[in-house]
Symmetry: C2
Subunit: 523 residues, 2 copies
């Protein structure tokens, strides 16, 4: 349906983007903070208690019945959520049922997809699923990159996903929320039950705005399910299953402190830079990631806090045992958590009122009256590529393959100081390039690049450049760092990509910041 | 503007109601569960973080500046909330400012008004305020009843107030939320700070749907204010004042156990009735009120639970020290609280995760996918009058004066068993009448009337009639009870009211269930 030649225009970042995708008009990226939305939020259909059971019991026999009662039919948008990450057991079942019922041409709108969703490739091939709008990690990304998806994929940040639903850009017909605990009314949480995985914040927009909402759980408790991270007042049907998800698999592959000497050095340089430039102070806040380097940086931050007898006011997380320990030791007042990355995170959120569950609405939605992301003192993020203007890529590799989602990455760029601690090269491919394969984040929002061979500060941040003077840290330009990498690895060849657009990248305001091209394959 | 003759029609309850009020078309009441809304919820304007301070600091110098920045002008709707009950200090200030600025014709949309708001009568007189849509207790009700208000008042239940905002019936221009604790971003709660009064649930709809939202506090904390009962992501401006409210005055005048022998008897009969008809069981739930009789009933319920070694699953409250003690003693699993009625309630909500703050959205909104009210086993409510068909009045006295709000009363009528424990007469005026002065609740939802001289069961509840047989309880008909009262007090004269409609009563679905007439006065 979308394979015809589509018209492209150059957006404010100089990238060629489609004016229309999947039959819907698009707004090209206009610059940071330049596109001001007009109009009103989407208002979902008004419900009436007269149409819901007075005793609050919304249980139906199984997921299939819930989907049929929800009116599952061709062309609908079905949303799911990645609170179980690679341990999700429900999304595949939904599309098995759709296939069984002969339903075609669905839009799958996950908050993220994982390797466990590889079985869905067959439904992308046979037209049960038209396209994925959401991150496509691993095999799904490879499949999409090679032009396998019938529709054009749309990648949004966590905040952009909320924004798109709130603003009515994406109308969800049926949201399916896999919940570790729920009552028959649909109140649900992620902190209790055998599959406790933390929180359900990624499903908030879906619960608020979808036409039909189904809560699936393996731990059904008598009303009221406390806490109710999802309100049953938004829920149409509840379903009891034997096992809703595999919470062990929420553990990211990279929740161990890095042992790589280069990465340890990057972490140390990052922390020293923050200390030298007074970004760390009594009452500061930071965003902790789950990768090995980020974890190490968190430990350095902790050491700086302890040494100075300071406290952080809050850590934005992706939590795991390290920030939990800091919370319990009184080194930080609050963890504002969007996603737990280990079972210690889950436990802490369940037990500690100062370990607070957040959502893309509170943290990231750019079409709100502010959000938390811009209030964070220092944010540490990854990237696959950075260009000489600090523009960065986080979704494609230099060979053009779309292998990662955006997550909260774009949203976090609004932090007060944004640092990308990245190795100068990976597999002998330099990270600093003339032009990123895919633009995900405008350079004006990225302040510092820390590599094992030096630190580059964005010229827009003269304040940081001044403060870093005399620090003894290896401050260099991006040009210098790029030259060093190329001396070691050689100048990499640019991938030759097809004309065809297989996906687009949305900016946090719903505009299109870049296109992802099909990878040329010689089979 | 509204004093011309307005057209009335007879609604499904046989009451004459206006087809249009204050220039807006109305839907007459159609019966319980009969009006099914069409269309979509209201979608407020889409905001952009680009228009809000990146550091989250939304503080302005004072309330006047916040109102001016919010665009205060003639004809706007201004909402406030009654979390401080008679200790509110902010609402009067808003209209002092409006008067000072020469703004006219405002609609005041409080979640309730109290005697402390009597100073606003001068603004109703001079046209600063056109009308109040919300309860008008005491002096304001007397003023409205005598035809003093320029516009027509509209009384809604707590759930109906949420419904009206959600459905776009009431568009709030500026919401002012008086918060015991807040951060500069606008996250706010009611549990902390010197003026801690419990929760902010009545302001939820306003925060979600108003064009502009102002949070006023006397306890400004560094971001993040935890818990955030109100999300700063909905807030435009924050204001710091010396004193935001007088929390001592949240204590209702009737939070003492009744000492009246008649009322104690009514309480005892109510409890015995519930025990005899097996309404109380291990895991049951009930709605506890704050009046003296209700408190006594709660104590009887507690005694029954303790004697049987049972637990209640939850108490819906209006909390005070009695349910708090039960929670702490393990006699109830959860308090689901919409409003704290004493400082013990506030303390418990702050300290105890099982004392949960609720909102009209979770508990009462009829235009949701169910709500909590219909899941409660037994609900105990008051009334000013009941007719022979169990129809009840809760807003006017038999002299026609509009002296009370609806509160959650209409919403609670959806409980599984609804009991009105009321004295047979007050000041020698019988409570059971041929026709209620104002219809607030349809008799089909009211199951039992308990008086000091007998218990009447609605013939629709044959199950209860059967269960009460052989209980030894004084089961009578409403006709019998009415005759008894009239033997003692005589047959009361019906008040002669003016034709003019000074207010209407909305049903939970936004339809008009009755009109309130002007009281004829001979000054």
């Amino acid at each position: 349906m979308s394979k015809q030649k589509i018209e492209l225009v150059k957006n404010a970042a100089g990238r060629m983007v489609p004016v229309e995708i999947n039959g819907e008009k698009q707004i090209p990226y206009q610059g940071v903070g330049k596109f001001i939305p007009k109009g009103n939020k989407y208002g979902p259909p008004i419900a009436s208690c007269a149409n819901y059971p007075a005793d609050g019991n919304k249980l139906v026999s199984d997921l299939k019945e819930a989907l049929i009662k929800s009116g599952l039919k061709d062309g609908m948008t079905i949303s799911t959520h990645h609170h179980f990450r690679n341990g999700d057991l429900i999304a595949n079942q939904i599309f098995d049922i759709a296939y069984e019922l002969g339903v075609k041409n669905l839009r799958w709108y996950p908050s993220a997809s994982f390797p466990c969703h590889e079985p869905l490739i067959k439904y992308l091939e046979d037209g049960t699923i038209n396209r994925i709008e959401g991150s496509m990690n691993g095999a799904l990304g490879r499949f999409a990159s090679e032009g396998g998806m019938k529709g054009i994929g749309v990648l949004r940040s966590h905040g952009g996903r909320y924004q798109a639903v709130q603003d009515g850009e994406v109308h969800i017909d049926i949201a399916v929320i896999a919940a570790p605990t729920a009552d028959a009314f649909g109140n649900a949480n992620g902190v209790n039950g055998p599959a406790a995985s933390g929180l359900l914040g990624f499903a908030l927009a879906d619960s608020q705005y979808a036409d039909k909402v189904i809560v699936v759980t393996d731990n059904l408790v008598p009303f009221p399910c406390i806490p109710w991270q999802i309100h049953g007042n938004y829920v149409d049907y509840t379903v009891k299953v034997d096992k809703v998800g595999d919470a062990d698999k929420i553990v990211s592959g990279t929740t161990n402190i890095t042992k790589s000497p280069d990465r340890l050095l990057i972490a140390e340089l990052t922390a020293k830079f923050c200390e030298a430039t007074n970004i760390i102070y009594d009452g500061f806040s930071y965003q902790a990631g789950a990768g090995g380097t980020s974890l190490s940086i968190g430990l350095y931050f902790e050491e700086i806090l302890r040494r100075n007898k300071w406290k952080a006011r809050f850590i934005r997380a992706g939590s795991n045992k390290y920030p939990v320990k800091m919370l319990e030791d009184g080194i930080v007042d609050y963890i504002l958590d969007g996603q737990t990355f280990d079972l210690e995170g889950v436990r802490s959120m369940r037990e500690n009122a100062n370990h607070v569950d957040t959502s893309p609405f509170t943290s990231y939605n750019y079409h709100g009256k502010g959000n938390f992301a811009s209030m964070i003192d220092v944010v540490v993020l990854g990237a696959t590529e950075v260009d000489l203007n600090f523009n960065a890529n986080v979704v494609t590799h230099s060979d053009g393959y779309l292998l990662h989602g955006i997550g909260g990455w774009q949203n976090c760029l609004f932090g007060k100081t944004v640092i990308l601690p990245i190795p100068l090269f990976r597999d002998r491919i330099p990270i600093i390039v003339d032009e990123v394969t895919t633009l995900c984040g405008p350079g004006e929002l990225i302040d510092v690049i820390v590599t094992e061979r030096g630190i580059a500060i964005n010229p827009l941040r003269q304040d940081l450049i001044e403060k870093a003077k005399g620090s003894g840290l290896p401050i260099k330009t991006l040009q210098q760092l790029k030259a060093e990498a190329e001396r070691i690895c050689g100048v990499p060849e640019k991938p030759v990509l097809d004309e065809e657009v297989i996906a687009v990248i949305k900016w946090v305001d719903g505009t299109v910041i870049d296109s992802v091209r099909k990878v040329k394959i010689s089979r």
